[in-house]
């Protein structure tokens, strides 16, 4: 096995254009890759299999890849093979290899400089080694590895230089004493770029989405009971979740400050909403007849004197919260997906997060009906579930922060902005689901 990695894997550049587009985390979905260049490759673990760290440039986008190199591919890794190197050995996606991934903990524990990277436990954290590694096994935009019941390491598939928002906000929250995040335990960096982020693994947790949809399932199995009457009522959880999100907002504000956005910024915000609407209108004809009410709702934001802004989660929905035995925890503070780094780091109104969660309740309520023949009774009852839990979330939020419903103009605009984005997304990816955000737009605009 080679000890001079870069030349050895350059030949892989031929296989990668075929392989990359098949990966869930690949950004330019549905597009071909013209050229891939291996920017950096360094040996982390020698032997057979060997573990190699690489950064690629695929048509100008940077990706992180951990490669396993072996002369003989065991059966369970066959599906992970990317291609063959010049020396006849095979290269495969090493995140599928539990043995190789298990070794990463040692690098952290030793504060290693393997591969020219910095493997850095957080101050005061002692990393336990010898834990079994496994992929987290959920759909995600990065790749996370779980170690025993202790840690979860997120390898950023598209690492960006500079401070990493996910890491920084987690650290700030833990310093503020927040109980609503999973404690950071280590990072791995190359020069100024954070490549991976390890946190305490919350093994007793279930995702908010799974928890909420269990309740909806229970409701829809009943013929005529109201959402508050069925056994699986979720309002108590929604209430606690609201309080948890408000607590995170309060901690972020206390740790990183609050500013006031004046009228000019409100107007700029409204412009952004209009621009996103323009883009969606061009794609989805069904939006046209709602254009008037949407524009009116966005324009109303211009009339507002201003609002307070701070660091927020940035991409909050039921898939970004975990119900643990001790309460709700927020994960993944990377911020708005697809937005450039500078954009993500901007301060915003905390109501953005609230709007994201409120939209998510709506999705949870209606997801089982997507693609079904519309059934008035079922739709009404699902909508009742959404209303009940949205209200409970806001009421819970109000026990810690200000009741989000007090800022109705802004909250409504944020929700509609989000729904417009959803219409565009569903139109491209899941046409059956388009009615979900459309109905939300109709409900919100009919109400006022």
């Amino acid at each position: 096995m080679t000890t001079r990695p870069l030349p050895a894997v350059t030949s892989l550049a031929e296989d990668l254009p075929g392989w990359l587009p098949g990966q869930r985390w690949f950004a330019a979905k549905g597009q071909d890759v013209a050229s891939v260049r291996v920017e950096r490759a360094a040996l982390l673990v020698d032997g057979d299999p060997a573990l190699l760290h690489t950064l690629l440039d695929a048509d100008g986008e940077r990706y992180q890849l951990l490669l396993g190199l072996t002369d003989e591919v065991p059966d369970h890794l066959r599906a992970a093979v990317i291609g063959r190197l010049a020396d006849g050995s095979y290269a495969y996606d090493a995140t599928h290899d539990a043995e190789l991934m298990g070794g990463l903990l040692e690098l952290f524990a030793e504060h290693s400089a393997a591969g020219g990277l910095d493997w850095l436990p957080e101050p005061g954290v002692h990393i336990q080694t010898g834990l079994r590694a496994r992929p987290v096994g959920v759909e995600q935009s990065n790749t996370s590895i779980v170690f025993g019941e202790h840690y979860i390491l997120k390898l950023y598939r598209r690492p960006a230089p500079g401070p990493n928002r996910d890491v920084e906000l987690h650290r700030a929250l833990v310093r503020a004493g927040s109980a609503q995040v999973a404690e950071p335990v280590a990072v791995v960096r190359a020069e100024g770029t954070v490549l991976g982020f390890a946190q305490r693994y919350l093994g007793d947790s279930a995702e908010g989405w799974a928890t909420a949809t269990a309740s909806v399932r229970d409701l829809l199995a009943e013929a005529d009971l109201h959402a508050g009457e069925v056994g699986g009522d979720f309002a108590g959880e929604a209430h606690r979740l609201g309080a948890a999100v408000a607590a995170v907002h309060a901690d972020l504000a206390a740790a990183l400050g609050v500013a006031t956005a004046g009228q000019a910024e409100m107007a700029a915000g409204a412009d952004g909403m209009h621009a996103r609407l323009d883009a969606a209108l061009a794609q989805v004809p069904a939006l046209a007849k709602r254009e008037g009410v949407l524009r009116a709702a966005f324009d109303a934001v211009r009339e507002l004197p201003g609002t307070s802004v701070q660091q927020v989660h940035g991409d909050l929905h039921l898939g970004q919260v975990l119900r643990t035995t001790g309460g709700w925890v927020l994960i993944d503070f990377e911020g708005e997906p697809d937005a450039p780094v500078a954009e993500r780091n901007r301060t915003r109104s905390a109501l953005r997060d609230v709007a994201g969660m409120l939209r998510s309740f709506d999705y949870a309520a209606l997801h089982m009906l997507a693609g079904e023949e519309p059934d008035h009774q079922r739709l009404t009852r699902a909508a009742e579930w959404a209303d009940r839990n949205r209200a409970a979330f806001c009421a819970g939020y109000a026990t810690v922060g200000t009741d989000p419903r007090a800022d109705s103009v802004l909250l409504r605009a944020f929700e509609l902005d989000k729904a417009v984005y959803e219409v565009g997304y569903e139109h491209r990816n899941r046409p059956d689901w388009v009615p979900i955000p459309l109905a939300a737009i109709d409900r919100a605009t009919a109400a006022g």
């Binding site: 279930a206 269990a214 399932r217 108590g236 001790g326």
Partner: protein, 599 residues
Amino acid sequence: MTVQDTTAPDAALGLAGIPHTGEAVTADGHLTEPQAEDFHHARSAPPQVDWYKSAVFYEVLVRAFNDSDGNGTGDLRGLADKLDYLQWLGIDCLWLPPFYASPLRDGGYDISDFRAVLPEFGTVDDFSYLLDQAHKRGIRVITDLVLNHTSDAHPWFQESRQHPDGPYGDYYVWSDTDEAYSDARIIFVDTETSNWTYDPVRGQFYWHRFFSHQPDLNYENPAVQDAMLDVLRFWLDIGIDGFRLDAVPYLFEEEGTNCENLPRTHEFLKRCRKVVDDEFPGRVLLAEANQWPADVVEYFGDASIGGDECHMAFHFPLMPRIFMAVRRESRFPISEILAQTPAIPAGAQWGIFLRNHDELTLEMVTDEERDYMYAEYAKDPRMKANIGIRRRLAPLLDNDRNQQELFTALLLSLPGSPVLYYGDEIGMGDNIWLGDRDAVRTPMQWSPDRNAGFSRCDPGRLYLPAIADPVYGFQAVNVEAHMNNTSSLLHWTRRMLQVRTEHPAFGLGDFTELGSSNPSVLAYLRRHGEDVVICVNNLSRFPQPVELHLSEHDGCIPVELTGGVRFPAIGELPYLLTLPGHGFYWFQITRPLEEGEPQ
């Protein structure tokens, strides 16, 4: 003299001709009391330390189980006649609510003589016979002992109110006003307005945490402490295996406190424990303290020496949360309360239950959760009592067999010694039209014969009518019918108890919750030495998949415990199971067979 007449409870309580407290009064005003030597003593139970940690308890009301003399009320001899049934079922210990002499204004918790048996139930010698027969079958017996108060009919109280300067004058908590201890809450909010009641005989107020006819004993008085320790000794001498100490948090009062869990209350419990340890090793004290586990653990005493107060305590908040979790199809109500439950001393054990003779207590849930529970489980306002729900397990679960099995499986596998409630093993119903908590205290249903086989008496004489509705009535639901059908709930329960007995992990093992991404599945691992058991429960009415992370047991084979079926070996990958609605699995984790190992 009239004073003597009211002191002797003979007339009112039918103790004439039976040894009892206050039969005579000594020259210095002391009441003579029966002594243990006056009665038969039972043979001992098979010696076994820590028996209570893995025992299955069965709560049975003497009044409700079996009537031997045909007077319409169950009795101690009748219960003794049914011990074979309880042995067959696999019960390790009976818990009898109080059978002492009592005016029965609080289900016998209003004790008027600690050293006499309620005549309807029999005599002290009948109790000794029951105990002897139970021990012969390897079954232990504990009973309630109310330390905090007596009935106002107790000769001690009669003496105290009439002779403030006599030897009993200071046995109760007397005051000229009703103002002291105003921070103590009122427990029976439905019936009481104050913890003080004026006694016209003595011209003072007396303190009572429960009903006004139950004056609190004054534990500040060393003579009261000694007298109550002697009550313990009386029954322990006869051979009883322990006591459930009722209402323990309230023994002492102190101004400016809520008068619960005071340090001196704990000091007295340590004295009780010392009597047991020094004089009667192997017997147990079980605390009834309806409080949060973090507070209840105090009643186990000093953890550094394995506990020096009660051996056991009831875990109250777990029970409503089991109901809540299944209704919500979410494991978190259970996970949360178990995570909040502190570790207990080495010598201690929880007692856990689904139902008992009291209502389903809702003191340990938030207001919001209580409203939810009322709405879910007490649809008729008559089903509510105090702060709880008065129903039996089967009707609470809509008589759904799957849920009854799931709940029982949880009871038998969660950490703690399970306490079954008589009749729940055959899915008995309740009668919410009966007053107070009698809804769940109707006669045990033995057969489809007259009076459910409980009594030969004229049906009109029964202490409570047997359940006769079409669904739960004794014609359909009775032990005989269940015995004749091997797929009955009764047979199922018996098999589950057998499985539990075969695996020390259930009683002695530690508890680790196994998380999973499915919030409707509650999975946990119990481990005692080599014995490793995994329990997986689907709290949802719909079938559910679950992936468990068991790679720690890579290569091991899960063997399902009720049928012995070997499941696929555990590997590196998450272990996938599918469970039917309200289904559950118990697995033993066994190491794989070695090559060439004889099979």
